[in-house]
């Protein structure tokens, strides 16, 4: 169907339009509530769902060549990978491996005493 002109039924388009409006309302409502760690993932999940509906139905990817679908899916997968692994840093900074500050005493036996690297 790469070069086909698939006619999407008006009923389907209307349903997707309704779903997009509904998800927009959900976005506004959830933005008013502090869900802590879930704030960003939820906002992204809603935005992602809306994007999927637009791309698959309005942009007709659902009816297009599978290679194009694979290309889009790969792009999305890598965006998700980027976000998830970056959030694994930004959301967990300081939560592991941090100890109380302490003064490190120079050992009197050390030959390096008194000669610090610049």
């Amino acid at each position: 169907m790469a070069h086909g002109h698939h006619i999407i039924p008006l009923r389907t388009l209307s349903m997707v339009f309704g779903a997009l409006l509904f998800l927009t309302v959900v976005t506004v409502i959830t933005a008013q509530i502090d869900l802590g760690l879930l704030n960003i993932p939820l906002a992204l999940a809603i935005a992602g769902s809306k994007a999927i509906l637009v791309v698959f139905v309005f942009m007709a990817l659902k009816y297009d060549n599978r290679v194009n679908l694979l290309t889009v899916v790969l792009g999305v997968v890598f965006v998700v990978v980027f976000l998830v692994l970056t959030l694994a840093d930004t959301e967990f900074r300081g939560s592991l491996g941090i100890t109380e500050p302490a003064i490190i005493e120079a050992s009197p036996e050390s030959s390096d005493t008194g000669s610090r690297m610049p």
Binding site: L74, V81, D89, S95
Partner: protein
Amino acid sequence: MSDESHNYLNARKGLWSWLSTTDHKRIGIMYAIACGAFFLLGGILATFVRTELGEPGETILGQDQYNQVFTLHGVVMVFLVIIPAIPGILGNFVLPLQIGAKDVAFPRLNLASWYLFMAGAIMAVCGWLFVGRVDTGWTFYTPYSSGASNAVLWLTSAVFIAGFASIFTGLNFIVTVHKMRAPGMTWNRLPLFTWAIYATGIVQVLATPVIGITMVLLFLEKLLQIGIFDPALGGDPVLFQHFFWFYSHPAVYIMILPAMGIISDLMGTFSRQHVSGYTFIALSSVAIAFLGFLVWGHHMFVAGQSALSSIIFSMLTFLIGIPTGIKVFNWVATMYKGSVWLRTPMIYALMFLFLFTIGGLTGIMVGVLAVDVHLHDTYFVVAHFHYVMMGGALIGLIGGLHYWWPKMTGRMYNETAGVIAAILVFIGFNLTFFTQFFLGTKGMPRRYHDYSEFLEIYPEFAVLNLASTIGSYILGVGLVMILVYALYSLFRGPKATANPWGACTLEWTHTGPVPDEHNFHDTPLVTRGPYDYHLADDVFGKKTES
């Protein structure tokens, strides 16, 4: 077979015929000239760096100049040489020939890629000459780049533009491999160089936009004072490193994957054997391409990244050793019981095997969290990535250029000169960079123009740095020697036959000594694999170059 007197070099004449060409072979040659010039520039800058470090104290460069010179060396070598060189030169020249196509899928886009690359390159060099000298290092880390002069904007814009050339080239190759293969050229008959360029194309298309986005964000931050990366504006400098390395680590695979493809072809041709583990080598290229996206955080273990993140990235980093190991073991297995023909390209293939393995294994070492804490930002890391980027990518490129030189120019080079230059490159390279492993483990930090203050504690820094500098001169002599005999070959070299190596792939078996403008008079019908050397002597004749 092509008419030998009529070929792509003499089909049209004049400078404009080159600048307006859509012939993939000519575009490959134009990349070769451009990348060669930038390699020369990058090499001269590297010589300045090593000369400064040859003796303790300030010698030929002040500290600011030193920072500026190593920054430009990094930018030129990474963005204008190693990333574009193999896809641009050999990908363009060889890939359509190897799959039996008359050109790439989008010839005009291919030419546009070259112009974009040149625009980015000229902008980078002119910016450095006329706007200001960036001293941030090739990584443009914030807050250095946030606080630096507007010259950073020039350089980042140049990288942004050159990035589009990379995206278009990758896209072109992906579509070409999918759509332009000759009848019978099934996926399991693709030469491994083509497989590698295909996998590289995926990385180019998926990763390069991120460096573009990063540069735009940096641009916006500096111009509009929006806090994205600069902590003074409320930004997060480590976030810049996430963005930067999400592209730049896969970019390491943009550099090394095509070189791995070259080595696979060289191993098959010069061992006169079917490449061992063909399917595994092909799929390991794709596996490396994908795994390469998951490991960027190993550049940031000591940058303030969360411990959780560092643990995840460290574990993922070890995974990439698996497909890489598959390749290395299969290359060795290809030579086993083969009829190894030790010509210059094969010498470079063996060199790659040795140097890249050192580069890869030291990469695993710095992938270990506890080890990296000690070695980060020391000369150990400098040595490691030069073993990968130069010992791997550039040595692969040089091997590939020697291999396809007769097809590109119709001339042979002097084999003895080739071997001598290869030996000089090998000795020079190892003397330059192996010493840096010792410097790094002793704690010598990178990006310092002077190490006099360390000598009281580590007097061996002086002799190690001197050895490294002498090595760089030997390496330089070897590389200049290659340039000299290549130029001699171009004008005076003996004419090459159509298949001087007795190779099995289509660019050797189905074109004349120099391919004609449209590659093939008739579309080839492929009935065998690319390394069926058990058929080669019967079907294509014995090797003719002695």
